[in-house]
């Protein structure tokens, strides 16, 4: 178990290292540099030259990368090219806002979709199951921003004015102090991920409900509730854990579009902005953080899978 954990952590770090190289190479492949991006239409040679010097863009690509890597190793994310502020200062509040949004969405979406999946499986082929299956399938096929825009239309601008259409969080405030601003983006994320998890849960639950030991449990006369929650669910949940992890990881990246639609002050809007600005230190930092979420979430999912699967839990002892 410890060896397994150690190996996974080391592999995770290697992944992050490779990601940093790929992202850096990709940003280099973008035409133009931060100086041109910042000046845009005013990119006269004199102003580009002055700004490039100021931003140290005259250094070689390799030296820029090693400089950045050296900073990361010592816990320094570098300085933003666009704002000349420390990257950590620039992104910390936004990371917290995005993390809050994703965690709130996950806390609601995961149990909800597991319960929904179980319920559909139990009512398999009844009208309720058919309606929910079709609805979730339809929702799963909608892009996030369409869901977001539809919610804004329904709940904020045209039909009803219940929630704010855009998430204005005053600077210096955190998203959790402005709960209203989180409602629509969170709802969008919940609607976006629930179909996947619930459909997987339904499929796996149906399989388990058809197995012999469930039939056995029923024949023993155990109450239905006990059969489902004590016997069936723990065995059906493994695929749901895996897909939940994938969805959580997806949310960490997919939050970009949702934040964009609602002008939510999180990492998504900042990532889009930084790519536009060719602000490589910020792009690097955010890409690494999103990649780290992928690695950690997958690791946690694997550990959970081991915990709920006796066969795996006892292996290697």
């Amino acid at each position: 178990m410890t060896t397994f954990l150690l190996r996974r952590v080391l592999l995770g770090l290697l992944t992050l290292f490779l990601v940093s190289i790929v992202v850096f190479a990709a940003t280099q492949a973008l035409p133009g540099n931060a100086a041109v991006a910042i000046l845009g239409r005013n990119a006269t040679p004199a102003r580009v030259a002055a700004l490039s010097r100021q931003l140290h863009l005259d250094r070689s690509v390799v030296s820029q990368y090693t400089h950045w890597l050296g900073g990361i190793v010592s816990g320094n994310l570098g300085t933003s090219a666009a704002t000349q502020q420390p990257v950590s200062h620039l992104i910390s509040a936004r990371i917290l806002n995005s993390a809050f949004l994703v965690i709130v969405s996950a806390i609601i979406a995961v149990p909800l979709s597991i319960a929904l999946g179980v319920w559909m499986a139990v009512r398999r082929d009844k009208p309720a199951d058919h309606i929910l299956s079709t609805t979730t399938l339809a929702l799963a096929s909608l892009p996030d921003f369409v869901i977001g825009l539809a919610l804004a239309l329904l709940l904020a601008t045209n039909v009803a004015h219940v929630f704010p259409a855009v998430s204005i969080v005053p600077p210096g405030e955190h998203a959790w102090n402005v709960p209203k601003a989180v409602v629509l983006p969170a709802l969008t994320l919940i609607i976006a991920v629930t179909p996947y998890i619930s459909r997987i849960m339904r499929a796996s639950m149906i399989e388990v409900l058809e197995s012999e030991y469930v039939t056995m449990a029923r024949l023993k006369g155990l109450p239905n509730r006990t059969v489902i929650w004590r016997h069936a669910v723990p065995n059906a949940i493994v695929p749901a854990i895996q897909v939940s992890a994938l969805q959580l990881a997806y949310m960490a990246g997919g939050v970009v579009l949702v934040e964009y639609v609602f002008s939510f002050p999180g990492i998504g809007a900042q990532l889009v902005d930084s790519v536009g600005n060719r602000d490589i230190p910020v792009v690097q930092a955010l890409a690494i953080i999103i990649a780290a979420v992928y690695v950690v979430v997958n690791l946690v999912a694997d550990l959970l899978t081991i915990v709920v699967t006796p066969r795996l839990r006892t292996a290697g002892r």
Binding site: L30, P31, G32, V36, A37, I38, L39, G40, R41, N42, A43, T44, A46, R47, A50, Q54, S80, A82, T83, L90, L149, A152, A156, T157, N158, H161, P164, A165, V166, I168, V169, P170, P171, G172, Y260, V261, F262, S263, P265, A269, Q270, V272, D273, S274, V275, G276, N277, R278, D279, V282
Partner: protein
């Protein structure tokens, strides 16, 4: 913002770029007689509009009460937002500048004569256009309580023209002889120029040439504007407070102004529809109907002098032949372009810019699509079956669509226009200003200042590589001529040369479209092209 690998980005890139243009290249307008009069302190007659007579719509008026907080949605913005008086680039930067700072003089929203701000007058010395005397308006205070002095003006100009770090305004007033600028008295400054320029007041009378106090630090921004600094968070919002000692008595009306960045057009409009902001700039034309149909909201449409030309390099084949350039101009179906590209929000143009300048020659015949004539010109030039590449990028709203419509119209004349669609990062990369056939966008400006920006070999943005010797002769002559009537005669001759053989195809002038809640009043149309009436929230307040 520059890159645009995501399609959503395109809009951002576009709009921001548009604002950049306003910021950077804004260099006013030829000073009309009226403007000179106003400059001398008398009441000026209204300047100019020869090209267009009809007005826009949606301005508001009525009694205004003092107090209240106004929140506005601005287009774009992000981490590189700035509050520096001399470095505005994106739309929110420009909005901040107009409210925090003031230049010596500036064109009002109706693009009438130059309005004196920090200066009381701006006059040529000894009747010659190569040296100017600025007289300060008495008692104008900075937000820190200090009264504006000649030293502050000198400091501001030195900061703009700093050779190590030239600011936005440097491109338009680079000809100031900065070493010899002098304080003449406790309220006067002499500004000598390296060239004679009768339209100097318009070049310096730009919002980005603001007067800031000696020792200005953008971290603690101080200006003379109607609102003073409260807080500023790049990419999110800025909060400004009423400046109680503002020189224009009774203004501003509101106690607080909050400017909120919106990278997404839909989010910005949704914020207005949902009542989270009371005004937005740059309403997409597709959403005019929806906003108009919402009770409590108004759409403000302004006819401007903004233009988005196709640029042909006159020094490169095939456009080095003036007949080919004429043929390209005859290919364009202008009314169709206004309809398809601008959803009707614009008016056709005649391959000439600066429609509000009194020197604008409206007697030159309006060019219409003439495919037969175009074909025959191409045949004479030996270019039948011409195939050209048009370089386009989403640098301004509607530009890529304009390129597509143009390509379609050209095929009717047997000309193949191949589109090279780039992202704006590449467009502004190393080939910027060198494309053989490309596009650009410009703000409302009068003729001579516009020429200085784009139509002389010395211009920073001469994309057509236009260097006609007779044209240059006329321009130099006009610059040295302070008499407006004489100057305009000379300028019409220069215009005729551009009309007959210039490198621009100018199909239309586009409208500026904004929207606001009818709780507010005081908004005026902006021929200047600066949204919401030059962003002057000092004129806006809640309905009494």
């Amino acid at each position: 913002m520059t890159d645009n690998d995501f399609s959503r980005e395109d809009t951002i890139g576009g709009v921001t770029r548009r604002q950049v243009l306003r910021g950077a290249l804004g260099s006013g307008a030829v000073l009309s007689a009226g403007a000179l009069l106003a400059a001398c302190g008398s009441s000026g007659n209204s300047s100019s509009s020869s090209a267009s007579s009809s007005a826009g719509s949606g301005a508001s008026s009525g009694p205004i009460k003092a107090g209240g907080a106004i929140s506005v949605g601005a287009t774009g913005g992000g981490a590189k937002d700035t509050i520096d008086a001399h470095l505005p680039t994106a739309d929110p930067d420009i909005m901040r500048c107009w409210n925090l700072y003031e230049p010596l003089a500036v064109r009002p929203p109706d693009f009438g004569p130059l309005q004196m701000m920090v200066a009381e007058s701006l006059e040529p010395e000894h009747g010659k256009a190569n040296s100017w005397i600025v007289k300060l308006r008495p008692g104008v205070e900075f937000h820190n309580g200090k009264t504006v002095a000649p030293e502050d003006v000198i400091f501001s100009l030195q900061r703009i023209l700093d050779p190590k770090n030239p600011k936005v305004g440097a491109a338009s007033i680079g000809y100031i002889d900065i070493k010899n600028i002098k304080k003449v008295s406790s309220s006067e400054i002499r500004i000598p120029l390296k060239i004679a320029n009768a339209t100097f007041p318009d070049d310096i009378g730009q919002y980005f040439n603001a007067i800031v106090p000696v020792g200005y630090d953008p971290a603690k921004p101080v200006g003379t504007g109607a609102f003073m600094y409260g807080s500023f968070t790049p990419g999110q919002q800025s909060v400004f407070k009423k400046f109680p000692n503002y020189w224009q008595s009774g203004k501003p009306y509101a106690d607080q102004l909050t400017i909120i960045d919106f990278t997404d057009d839909t989010a910005r409009v949704n914020a207005l529809l949902g009542g989270q902001v009371l005004a937005v700039d740059n309403l997409p034309s597709g959403q005019i109907a929806q906003v108009q149909g919402t009770s409590g909201l108004k759409v403000l449409i302004s006819q401007t002098g903004e233009w988005q030309p196709f640029t042909m390099r006159v020094d490169q084949a095939p456009f080095s032949d003036a007949r080919v350039r004429q043929a390209m101009r005859l290919i364009v179906n202008r009314p169709q372009m206004v309809e398809q590209v601008l959803s009707g929000q614009g008016r056709i143009a005649n391959d000439m810019y600066s429609p509000f300048d009194p020197a604008y020659d409206s007697s030159l015949p309006q060019r219409h699509q003439d495919v037969e004539q175009a074909k025959s010109l191409l045949k004479q030039a030996g270019h039948s079956g011409l195939a050209v590449q048009l370089t386009t990028a989403p640098v301004f709203q509607g530009i890529v669509q304009a390129a597509e419509v143009f390509a379609q119209q050209a095929s009717a004349a047997g000309v193949t226009v191949k589109l090279q669609k780039l992202d704006s990062g590449t467009f502004y990369g190393s080939n910027y200003l060198k494309w053989t056939l490309a596009q650009d966008f410009w703000a409302t400006r009068e003729y001579l200042p516009q020429v200085a920006q784009g139509s002389l070999p010395s211009s920073p943005f001469n994309e057509c590589h236009w260097a006609d010797p007779t044209f240059i002769k006329y321009i130099n002559e006009a610059r040295a001529t302070l008499d407006q009537t004489k100057r305009n005669e000379i300028l019409r001759q220069a215009e005729t040369i551009e009309y007959n053989s210039g490198g621009y195809i100018i199909p239309y002038f586009s409208n500026q479209i904004d929207a606001y809640s009818d709780k507010l009043t005081g908004f005026v149309e902006a021929k200047s092209g600066f949204p919401l009436g030059n962003y002057w929230f000092k004129n806006v307040g809640f309905k009494a």
